[in-house]
Structures are given as structure tokens and as C-alpha cells.
Subunit: 245 residues, 2 copies
Amino acid sequence: MGASYYQFCPVAKTMELLDERWTLLVVRELVGGDRHFNDLRRGLPRMSPTLLSKRLQHLVAAGIAERHKSGVEVRYRLTPAGQELAPIVAALGEWGIRWIGHLGDQDLDPKILLWDMHRRVDHDALPSGRTVIQFEFPAVAASLRNWWLVLTPTEADVCDADPGFDVAVHVTADLRSMVEVWLGDLDWSDALRSGAVTIQGPPDLRRDVPAWFKLISFAAVPRLERPARPVGLPAAPLTPEELSA
Amino acid sequence: MGASYYQFCPVAKTMELLDERWTLLVVRELVGGDRHFNDLRRGLPRMSPTLLSKRLQHLVAAGIAERHKSGVEVRYRLTPAGQELAPIVAALGEWGIRWIGHLGDQDLDPKILLWDMHRRVDHDALPSGRTVIQFEFPAVAASLRNWWLVLTPTEADVCDADPGFDVAVHVTADLRSMVEVWLGDLDWSDALRSGAVTIQGPPDLRRDVPAWFKLISFAAVPRLERPARPVGLPAAPLTPEELSA
DNA sequence: CAGTATCCCTTATGATACTG
DNA sequence: CAGTATCATAAGGGATACTG
């Protein structure tokens, strides 16, 4: 429901629907399947529920998403028109991973990282039964430091409090490095070798941890050998380390 | 320079740069070559010069565009990073032409139509020498009713006042129909047959007019046989004819 | 030609608390 | 679980006039 551009140009008409803040991130969350309101919230933790609700209403009104209610449960899913936005979302992500030069510390949200990871668990690679991984980011504020992934061959849950099960492996990581692994900018093997990520637990399990996750879908996008110039640096408010760089 | 989403997701980082109003339309204008500030304004007539200036500065700061000054002349062009946005802009246009159901009367801007057309003249198809086409949109407010395209084998100019040259052909058109032709939603031949568009002038020239223009680049995108549902209708403020539909 | 300078004002949105 | 209600602030952006 963005304001009109008063142009017949199809690009303009499309952007009227999509250029409001958060809109394409909601679409990103919906790509690939049904989602509950609160699932969307977990992927968009900095978005207020009011605003998420508003964006969903706009997407539904625009014919991009549908709201399905069965009993008390509500699910949102993309319409065929919305599904055709998937390649656009993918292209935006691929562009970003090629050209965005630097992530600020503020971009490194463990909540989102864990939520992302839980969605891309390779369940076939897991041991049978329940596998619990504890993630610890020592440098992070206490409330965001410890996370547990409870994995089974069919399910994956994220907890920010100890669920009480036996922990199979304990991953201790520098948050930035863990994100870089996740984005495909750093190999698991390099991260482990340098000590930026360490895994404690039975050797056979420790060895398998990297195989339990499919990295973010953009991880395989070819990077530029030498980016002409990293993009987006001056766009973010400058942090102290950026100012000194 | 959009506000941060506080996410490492490449889609989010890209949208931080691109999701502000007008930004992708400026990129659209820059796709395909150098542009002067005032050329950009003609393609974006509803954008204030202040805002255009601001967006250009953001695009330059983000490494997406470059500003080249030679003497008094300033040209903007996309960097390699910016050029890689071209497929995204194209995909947005293709999505729009497939799924946007209806254009409001307010979207039918003759200024933009003529500016678009002048950029896609097929100069090789023109007669030698100067060819002047007058366009008249009888139903449009007087100040936007008459337009002249002054075409040569190497140049194309748009005038909103009679340039004084002999007019080779005079095109009288219903504005909406002319836009539909331009978008590939209506054939020239059908428009001429129905009388929505009429061409006066020497028969051989009249016959050739459609060949002088390459339609908008999205014109060839396959449309859906029966769109499940047109998209974007409720997004626009309802016009009287929409309310009665 | 290529922008700036103002000015006002709507609107978007972040934060927080609360409900069927 | 799936949202609404409320509020205050900032800022985005439209319009217009003016300048090197």
C-alpha cells in the first residue's frame, strides 16, 4: 500500500507494493512455505508485531499472500503471484552477498542466526533419536549468549533457555565467525582450525556437526575475486571501528 | 542510507540500500547508460529535485552509482555493482507486467510515455532526414495534450510545445490505449482498427509509424492466460470506476 | 545545466503493554 | 497462539522557489 509513483511503468507499480520497509523481508520469510505469525516474528525480531500485522494485511490485500485459518491456527502463505517473487528475493540476496562489504556488529544477531540454522538442519545427516547442541557465544551479552538446538530426524527447535536434555555437543564460537561460516565466507574447517569456533563432545559427533547444517542458500554464490569496491559501507551509521579503518 | 534492519541476511542488507522510496526507479533510469540530472528528472517527473539529488548521493555513497563531472557537465552512471542490479530491475518489471491488474488514470502520464518512447526509437527504421510526429491526447488536460517527437537517424527529442517543423504524421490517441500499446497489452493493429489510435499523414509514413518504436522492454513478457487474481487493486486509492467495478 | 534552500506536514515506525 | 491498542518521536517526502 505504498504511495503511488503515478507511473505506468511496471517497475514502479511493483515497487509501490514492495518498497515499504520490511515488506520484502516478510516475503523472504514466506518464501518456501506456510508460516505462523509467531514464526515470522522469530525471523524478524526487530519488527514490532503491529507492523508485521500491517505488512501481512497489505500483502494479503495486494494478492501476494493468503491468510488461512484453521480453527485457532492461522497460517500465511504466498499466492502464485507471491511465489513468483522468490527469484527476486533470491537475486537480492545474491547481489548482497557479492557486494555488501562489511557487516556491523549490530547485524550479528544470534537470535536470527539460530533461527536460520534450525530451518536448514539436514535431518537425514543427524543421528537417530534426539540430538541437542548447545551454542555459546562468550563475547555476547548474557541474555543472548547461550542457545540450544533440539534436533530429531523430523524436528528442530530453538531454545534460549536450557531445555534440560543432555547436551550432545557444545559449540563455543565467536559470533562474527559463526555468521561468516553460515554465510559461506569462512569454511567450517578454517574456523575450527583457528579456534574461532570450537566443538566439545564425543569425537565422532564433533566431526559431524558441520554436516548437520545446510548453510544459508546464498552461501554458494560466487564471490568476486577483488571487489572493485565494497558496497554499503558509508550507508550504515559509522561504528568506532569503521571510523578508524 | 535506509535504516538498518539489524540482520546479517544478505536480502536485508541489500534492502537497506534499496528500499527507500524512488531508489530503484532511479536505478531503473540509470540502467543502460549515462544520464544527466535533468534527464533523470524527465523520467521521474513527480520526484522533487531535492529528493533526486539525495537519492543520487546515497547511490554514489553506496558504491552503486558514480558521478562523473567533465567541465560543467555531470553524468551519473552505474558502477559494476549497480549494473548487476539490472536483472533485478528487469525481474521487478516482468513481475509487474504479469501481475499488476489495473492502472489508475493517475498512472497514465503522457510526459513519461513520450519520454519513454523517445528513448526507444528505432532510428534505423526512420526515413532519412528529420521526421516530426505530433501526438495528441484529446481527453487530456490542455497543457499535457500535445507533444512532438523530433526524430532523426541519430537523435530524438521530445517537445511539449510546437517546435515549428513540418509535422510528418499526426497521431491522435486515447491515452490509456496508447499506454497499453506501449506496454504490449494492445496491438498497434487493434488500436488502429478500433479507432482508439488514429494516424494522419502520407499513407506510407502512416503505415510505418509502429515500426519506428521498440516497445517497452517488458512488452514481450508472457502474460498469464487467466491471472488467478489481479494484484494490487486494493493497494491503490479507489477511483470511481473501480468502485463501480 | 545541476543542483540547493526552505518549509510544512503527514506518516511511518519503534517501543511497550495488553487481549480474545 | 495471533494479534490490537496506544503513544511519541523522528523522518520522510512533497511543493516551490531560488542559485552558481
